[in-house]
Amino acid sequence: MRILIIEDDQETASYIIKGLRESGHVVDHAAVGKTGLLMAGTESYDALIVDRMLPEMNGLSIVKALRGAGNHTPVLFLSALGEVDDRVSGLRAGGDDYLVKPFAFSELLARLEALDRRKTSESTVTVLRVGDLEMDLLRRTVTRGGKPINLQPREFRLLEYLLRHSGQVVTRTMLLEKVWDYHFDPQTNIIDVHISRLRSKIDKEFDTPLLHTVRGAGYIVRESG
């Protein structure tokens, strides 16, 4: 992916740049709002990481200006504020995702990759497939190796999200936000329980597991461990 970071805090910026480059991404950096807007408008990026608080021009205005000009590059907001209404205003301004500082790098990476995937595979597909697991989005059925698997509605949505992002790490917070549609901090690892339930349905009677735990980060669906 080619990614532009608009962030004035040097330490955060270099830390993100280093991490993204190690993960194999191409990264540009702008420390000032106007420069960032100029770069985002002229170059072609796969995703933008935009800090909310910037000198000269704040993050919201940058994204509004981009969207106004017909630029639909996915945007991930970074914010030290972290209020719920900030999140709402950020998403309303045209942002695609929101991350509160300080964050775990794995969370940022997972969200960035999810943004990129969104762009290419939106709802046009009707069948999601990983290995011998198949999900028919129209008939709402799931089969593995031809055997039907009975899933409850929420399990279906959970698996659908994992399959749409197959090959990518998906964090617990992302699952809570995208599958359950709530922003909150569970006191217990409640997502783990749902995952293990889902795992018992799709992996238990089969030789190769598809749903893997990535320690310290989240989950991933892929063919081989």
């Binding site: 991490g19 359950w180 569970p186 006191q187």
Partner: protein, 436 residues
């Protein structure tokens, strides 16, 4: 006061009777003198003249009789029957045929003129007694009116005082229930109560300032520590991703990551509570359907309860709408439910109920419950009922619940479930009457 009035009455009454007696005696002296100079004829003439001069309102009584008490001159038909005392004074009644016809009391002095004639000089006491009665009436009414006025004044005064005290009490209660911004209303009259109120208000300002300071310091600590902690966690993460470590080292790094996550989530919870308490999040309020919200919470936690062999039930009687923040309300109920599941033994029942009539949501478990004395304390930050801190948790879950409830002006109440705990969330505007 009664004593004073009695004294007033006694002194005027006695003074008046004395005055009467003195007049009578002076008159007798005058008559005696006339007798001495002019003899019986002169005396009789004088008496007759006096009687003739007497105005209808006058009350003098004269009677001159011979030795056998046969009247010679006077306005009495006969010598009174009552016997005179040692000094010759006698009290008697006389029917003078006045309009009211009531017999009047009279007081007179009798004496012997030259051992031959009896002379009686007196006064009809009616006027005097009327006056005395009037004095008594006036005094009694005076007392009554004074008492009534005093009573009314007292009631009005104590009402005012009670009202002021009540307003101080109400404000203190509000403040104790957490609204530190409340102040006692002052009237500006600068009386004792007003000064007390403004002194208390000044004290409250200081307390609020101190609390604010403490909160800000702890929030700043949380915030300032969060950034380096996040950096530490990220370094651990990169360390973990370097494939050169053996499995033993990896395990250590994982444990360190886990610790860092726990610390971060505690800081997050602290900061979140601080933000909620600063009431900055009201803008995100919308109309929330609690039935849908409860369904979502229960659905999220149902697998956890099932894993522990518990029976998690949801029952909604009617619907409830509440103005609020969807995520915070979810967090609030999730925290309560999380605790219920954590403390209920396997095979226990956890019931979540919504009652439209009572305007409340209840989460009841079958855990050990919370003893009466600790029920207020559990909402404090870092308060743990289990002092050994052996159970997982930060001690912030219920503080967050309380903060969210307060933001939504919901009342939160802990009750006995015999055995277990019932957490009751009363929606704003619902009455406090609810069948347990």
């Amino acid at each position: 006061m009664l004593g004073l009035l009695a004294f007033i009455y006694w002194s005027t009454a006695v003074y008046m009777s004395r005055q009467t007696d003195a007049t009578i005696e002076a008159e007798i002296k005058g008559l005696e003198e006339r007798y001495r100079t002019d003899g019986l004829a002169g005396l009789s003439r004088l008496i007759a003249r006096r009687l003739a001069q007497q105005q209808p309102g006058d009350s003098s009584v004269y009677l001159l009789t011979d030795n056998n008490f046969r009247p010679l001159v006077g306005n009495l038909s006969g010598w009174p029957e009552s016997a005179p005392d040692d000094e010759g004074w006698l009290d008697f009644t006389l029917g003078r045929g006045d309009a009211d016809n009531a017999p009047h009391r009279a007081r007179a002095k009798a004496f012997l003129v030259r051992e031959q004639f009896h002379l009686l000089v007196g006064r009809d006491m009616f006027e005097l007694e009327e006056t005395q009665r009037m004095i008594i009436h006036t005094l009694v009414w005076g007392i009554v009116i004074t008492l009534v006025l005093a009573l009314l004044g007292g009631i009005a005064l104590s009402r005012g005082v009670m009202r002021k005290i009540e307003s101080i009490n109400r404000t203190s209660k509000d403040i104790m229930s957490g609204d530190l911004s409340r102040r006692i209303p002052t009237t500006g009259s600068n009386d004792d109560f007003d000064r007390l109120a403004s002194n208390l208000n000044n004290m409250l300002d200081q307390i609020e300032l101190l609390m604010e300071e403490v909160r800000r310091v702890s929030d700043n600590i949380a915030h300032d520590l969060k950034t380096p902690l996040a950096r530490l966690r990220n370094r651990l993460e990169s360390l973990r991703n370097d494939a050169t470590h053996d499995s033993g080292q990896l395990e250590l790094v994982d444990a360190a990551l886990h610790e860092a996550d726990g610390l971060l989530s505690t800081f997050n919870a602290l900061l979140r509570i601080a933000r909620i308490e600063s009431k900055a999040q009201r803008e995100a309020f919308g109309d929330q359907d609690l039935v849908a919200l409860l369904n979502d919470v229960v659905e999220l936690y149902e697998p956890l309860a099932e894993e522990r062999g518990q029976d998690l039930r949801l029952e909604c009687v009617g619907t409830l709408q509440v103005r609020g923040d969807r995520d915070l309300l979810f967090q609030c109920i999730a925290n309560i439910l999380d605790n219920a599941i954590k403390y209920t033994p396997p095979d226990g029942v956890i019931s979540v109920t919504l009652n439209e009539g009572a305007g409340c949501v209840r989460v009841c478990d079958q855990g050990p419950g919370i003893p009466e004395h600790a029920r207020d304390k559990v909402f404090r930050r870092f308060y743990r009922l289990d002092t050994s801190r052996s159970t997982v948790g930060s001690g912030l879950g219920l503080s967050l619940v309380k903060a969210v409830a307060r933001l939504h002006t919901m009342e939160i109440e802990l009750r006995d479930n015999n055995p277990g705990l019932c957490v009751v969330l009363k929606m704003p505007g619902s009455g406090s009457t609810e069948s347990a």
